[in-house]
Symmetry: C2
Subunit: 333 residues, 2 copies
């Protein structure tokens, strides 16, 4: 059987790494990492070669025909690009159409949220989805919920500061009872490897998630497992809204203020999943998503309780720790 | 069995009339016509009473609680409002959510087209759909293709000027070979009566259409049936684009210029279905629509050939003939 040639954009990011690791386990894929020219010499990129990954330099701002040439032998194009560069996917999609790419998986990989004014991050993605639809390019949108890796509180002893950071605020939205779908970052690639060769997911939105928890359930469980009582600070809707207004004002004054942009993304995430309660399987279904539970009932994912034990045992891997791009990758999903 | 209470907005328009006529044939529906206060005394509205339709005056710009009160006993709300008032559906949807309406069918009822810059009419509707999604209101979007009633050319003898108008230009886009889905306006209500009580269509987009024809196929068929040779004037993409630019300039200068707005709608329709080829079952499927062919294979619709004979026999009914709102209704779909 001929292999399926998959090109991956953002292969060194958190989501990209998860996808890459899982695609590598399956012989049917041959993988091309699309790397910006300025990153070609990075050790993390050079390490790809040892794994049999083809490295292809690509400047996303190159002329269309350069993009087309880079994609001409690609069957499936997956983008896990950072949140600050989402709109570069628009010319990329145009090129993918012209190159005959059979399926484009644009950078979704976030929580479930509706478009149009709730989350800027979601709205930027919507512009890409709308472009894909206008050019009639086969696609799959994959959203993944919130990562396990960012879903537990700091403990008073500091023993898990290696994961949360010492300054973690342990914020819960409203009364802490809003359910939200969680996924182990490492499992995202497993879902993606299934989805991209599944005819049922062509031109569809797919929601992959492992388990649904409320913040209070997580804190209770973690308290029980650790024997420590984490601080709980409850945020009202007004506090979150006021913060969003402030960061928008800061961005109006200085649109290139990356710190404010990241804060905006974080607060809008909290508003969406913590206040509105958007990040649930039920709302995903309402919005037209197919669920991974329905598509892949046999897929073995990591359970959240076991993951929390890994964290307490000092065996979990921090996210954004090794990358100098960490800030801009922070909310890539 | 308790009847299903359906409220209809725009009941005197072309699409509204089709829907009303078909709902009236089914005893399970009790119908409420939502009528703007200034139209309550119109004979066409008064005639509703004789048919057992409840007439309820409603000013769409009323305070939210007034809208909620008007909808509090409604199971299903259908909007066939005109294209100039689409955004009044936003507070209406909010009220429907608060009133506990079980399903909202917003005013779609047009050709298949993607959102975001192709057709202003489609983009206005998208704002309403996005609002519905944000407030988690159960919905069904129903698009219907192009009407039979506007899909055939004027004949040189003038014998069907009663349908086309004497000034009809007989315009075909490009080479006249772009397929487009057609529906008899009178059949729209048949589809709607099925869809609104069908659990498979909750929170879905549905494409209802009768047959797919290219303009050349239509002209050839009509030539064959009539023995007359209709003029064929082919429009290039550039001609349509230039017209769109002109009407946009006219609208920039005078946003309330209804004539230019109508012309914009018409030319953007032509661009979408005639140039881009958007109005097809295949593209609808790509965009996530379920097809009426799949849902209701047994539904008996009128075939286009028979309809053309009606037209030639002088037995067809002109659209927009009786309404003083004709211009604003023209592109309601």
């Amino acid at each position: 059987m001929a292999s399926t040639r998959v090109a991956l954009l953002g292969a060194t990011g958190e989501t990209g790494t998860s996808i890459l690791n899982e695609l590598l386990k399956d012989d049917k894929f041959s993988i091309v990492a699309l790397i910006r020219p300025s990153s070609l010499q990075k050790p993390s990129v050079q390490a790809f070669r040892q794994k049999g990954i083809e490295i292809r330099g690509l400047d996303l701002e190159a002329p269309l025909q350069t993009l087309v040439a880079a994609l001409k032998d690609i069957d499936i194009l997956i983008s896990a690009i950072g949140p600050m560069a989402l709109l570069t996917q628009i010319p990329l999609a145009t090129a993918a159409k012209e190159a005959g790419v059979k399926r484009f998986v644009p950078c979704a990989f976030i929580t479930i949220a509706p478009p149009d004014g709730i989350m800027l991050l979601r709205d930027e993605k919507e512009k890409v989805y709308n472009h894909i639809k206008k050019i009639y390019l086969p696609f799959t949108v994959i959203d993944v919920g919130w990562w396990y890796q960012g879903a537990f509180p700091k403990l008073p002893s500091g023993k898990i500061d290696y994961m949360t950071g010492a300054g973690s605020m342990n914020l819960l939205c409203l009364d802490g009872n809003t359910p939200s779908a969680l996924t182990d970052l490492r499992d995202i690639g497993k879902y993606v490897a299934r989805i991209i060769v599944d005819d049922r997911t062509v031109n569809k939105y797919v929601f992959t998630y492992n388990e649904v928890w409320t913040p209070n359930q997580i804190y209770d469980k973690f308290e029980d497992m650790s024997g420590e009582r984490p601080l709980r600070k409850y945020l009202s809707e007004k506090e979150i809204q006021d913060d969003i207004i402030s960061v928008k004002q800061a961005l109006d004054a200085n649109p290139s203020d990356t710190g404010s942009m990241i804060m905006r993304f974080i607060r809008e995430y909290q508003f969406s999943w913590g206040i509105r309660g958007d990040n649930t399987p039920e709302y995903a279904k309402f919005l037209g998503y197919i669920s991974s539970k329905e598509l892949y009932p046999d897929l073995e994912f990591r359970d959240f309780g076991t993951y929390l034990k890994e964290v307490l045992d000092g065996k979990a891997t921090p996210v954004y720790a090794s990358s100098k791009d960490s800030l801009t990758d922070l909310v890539a999903g």
